[in-house]
């Protein structure tokens, strides 16, 4: 009897453990990757930001000295300003344009698939390539944009040495590449809408404008919010385009924080300040995200949706 029960006990433990281990093994890789490539680097960067950290040399703890240094650095402050301005200007424009184009596409009866494909192309391209293409377009001497402007009788714009123009060139490129993202989301939303409210509004004799504001827009609120939030979060990471088109210039007037951090780390070989810049950028993004989350919840609660 005793032998019987101990063999039984052993098998009980074995099978229970087998099941448990299996379950944990399944989720282990993602958790490990997340820990190794997201959490640990984050903490490590935090630590580096508190150090003088030359690559391949001794590092020295200097507490908040890096932060003091960069906050008084003109390049960094400019980049912070830009990092906030770019989303602030570009995203609303992308949203308005994207929403509009989505509405237009949605009303197409034939050939919608082809138009959709063309409309989505820009966001599919490698950002570096997009940067290159628009650099080519904006190029002063023989670029097509200035050529067209001249032909239209408008003054030529100096996209490279004029700070505002350079800034605008980046915004325009960003709009070109990422408005399709908004179109994608809003189109998805439009196609998911039920037909009835629109039919009854038509029957009631409402004008297109009215229908849009009273029916379409409110019903698409969740999509609008998703599109704006997602796009804004990505906009904080702006780097590829800026590097290619203006290199941050003229001077640093178009640079983003990522760009400045990158340049700093490579020019001086000291990772400390760059890390500090990254941390501050992260804080800004987090603050923004939380604020946006609050606003989103408030908007959704007050728009009559649960």
């Amino acid at each position: 009897m005793a032998i019987f029960s101990s063999a039984l006990a052993r098998r009980v433990i074995a099978s229970a453990q087998r099941r448990e281990i299996f379950k944990h093994l399944l989720i282990a890789p993602p958790l490990l990757f997340f820990g190794a490539f997201a959490i640990f680097p984050l903490l490590f960067t935090l630590w580096v930001s508190l150090n003088f950290w030359p690559v391949g040399g001794e590092h020295r703890f200097i507490a908040l000295a890096n932060y003091q240094h960069i906050l008084s650095d003109f390049s960094f402050r400019t980049s912070l300003r830009n990092n906030i301005l770019y989303p602030l200007i570009a995203v609303p424009l992308e949203y308005a344009l994207g929403f509009g184009v989505a509405l237009l596409i949605n009303q197409m009866t034939r050939g919608q698939r082809l138009i959709r494909l063309i409309a989505f192309m820009p966001m599919m391209l490698t950002p570096i390539v997009v940067g290159f293409i628009w650099k080519m377009l904006f190029y002063p001497t023989y670029g097509p944009i200035d050529f067209v402007l001249w032909r239209l009788g408008l003054p030529k714009v100096d996209w490279i040495t004029n700070a505002s123009a350079a800034f605008a060139s980046i915004v325009i490129t960003d709009i070109w590449q990422w408005t399709p993202f908004i179109i994608l989301i809003m189109l998805g939303g439009l196609r998911s809408l039920p037909v009835e409210p629109f039919e009854s509004a038509r029957v009631d004799g409402a004008s297109s404008w009215r229908i849009f504001w009273d029916v379409t827009f409110p019903m698409l609120l969740p999509y609008s919010i998703a599109a704006i939030v997602l796009r804004s979060i990505e906009a904080f990471k702006l780097f590829d385009i800026v590097l290619l088109i203006s290199g941050g210039g003229p001077g640093v007037s178009t640079a983003t924080t990522t760009l400045i951090a990158y340049f700093t780390s490579f020019r001086t070989g000291n990772m400390g300040p760059a890390a500090a810049m990254s941390v501050l950028l992260l804080i800004i993004v987090i603050v923004f995200s939380m604020t946006f989350l609050r606003i989103t919840q408030w908007v959704l609660a007050h728009s009559g949706r649960v």
Partner: protein, 283 residues
């Protein structure tokens, strides 16, 4: 009815056409420039092939002769990194998605529902934050400029996305199919491989394509973590850009090539989103 609505329709068509032109023209310009001669570019913009300028294949020749080594290196690296890391992302993501769909996890900091938060937080963090640390870490472990290092980095980069996409797919597979397979003599692993995975194939394909797409276009990681052997196409394009400016014709040709893989992915994805799953016939 009448002029008011047809005027509205014309406006709409006009506006849409404007946007399509806006989207198309830069791409058109690139394609066209790839076939121009240097002097055709420097003498001022020309728009129509054959009429404004002579069609030439100089860029392509350069691509295949002088710059061949770099070009092949860039493309091969991009292909290898993107395809392998996507495969790993989907592999690990699929098994983890199965776990999340079937089991209850209750670690202190992570439960089943926390997945969404995990994904979002990984997306919010600007890559510069992690890449600086990774640079130091990779350097310490000799992973800098290696294929292995980049594959690991890209897998980590894409895993949350794959997981998120696949989690719903796996939840949708009825548990009873695995029960039937169990009674039929299949152990848990075999149940997953023979029964569950085939049924999630569309989801796996979508996750793979999306991961491939993001890995192919990725730049900052590649820029900082590679400098020679493992350089990807975007990095090489950038180095050409600084080195060879302004040889537009050549860079346009490269851009066209760089456009092809993501375009294929885009077309395939579009078709995927149109199909429905074929999970019927179990009743």
């Amino acid at each position: 009815m009448g002029t008011a609505s047809s005027r509205a329709r014309w406006t709409r068509t006009a506006l849409l056409t404007l946007w399509i032109l806006f989207a198309l023209l830069p791409m058109y310009w690139t394609v066209v420039t790839a076939f121009k001669l240097p002097k055709a570019i420097y003498s001022g913009p020309s728009f129509i092939p054959g009429v404004d300028f002579k069609i030439s294949t100089l860029s392509w020749q350069t691509l295949l002769t002088e710059e061949r080594a770099n070009f092949i290196k860039g493309i091969l690296n991009s292909i290898v990194l993107a395809s392998v890391s996507s495969f790993l992302s989907v592999l690990f993501g699929a098994f983890a998605a199965y776990g999340l769909a079937r089991y209850k996890y209750d670690y202190k900091l992570f439960k089943n529902d926390d997945l969404g938060f995990l994904i979002v937080s990984q997306r919010i963090m600007p890559p510069i934050v992690s890449v600086l640390a990774l640079f130091i870490i990779f350097r310490t472990f000799g992973l800098l400029d290696t294929h292995v290092g980049m594959i690991l980095a890209y897998t980590a980069f894409n895993l949350p996305l794959a997981l998120y996409l696949l989690k719903d797919f796996f939840s949708g597979i009825p548990r009873e199919l695995e029960e039937a397979a169990a009674v039929d003599g299949y152990g848990k692993l075999d149940q997953i491989i023979r029964v569950v995975l085939p049924l999630t194939a569309p989801g796996l394909a979508a996750a793979y394509m999306l991961s491939f797409f993001f890995a192919w276009n990725e730049f900052l990681f590649a820029l900082m973590l590679t400098f020679d052997t493992a350089m990807t196409l975007p990095v090489i394009i950038t180095s050409w850009n600084t080195r060879m400016e302004p040889k537009w014709w050549f860079l346009s040709a490269v851009s066209i090539i760089a456009i092809i893989p993501p375009s294929i992915v885009a077309v395939l994805l579009d078709r995927f989103f149109m199909e429905r799953r074929f999970l019927r016939g179990t009743r």
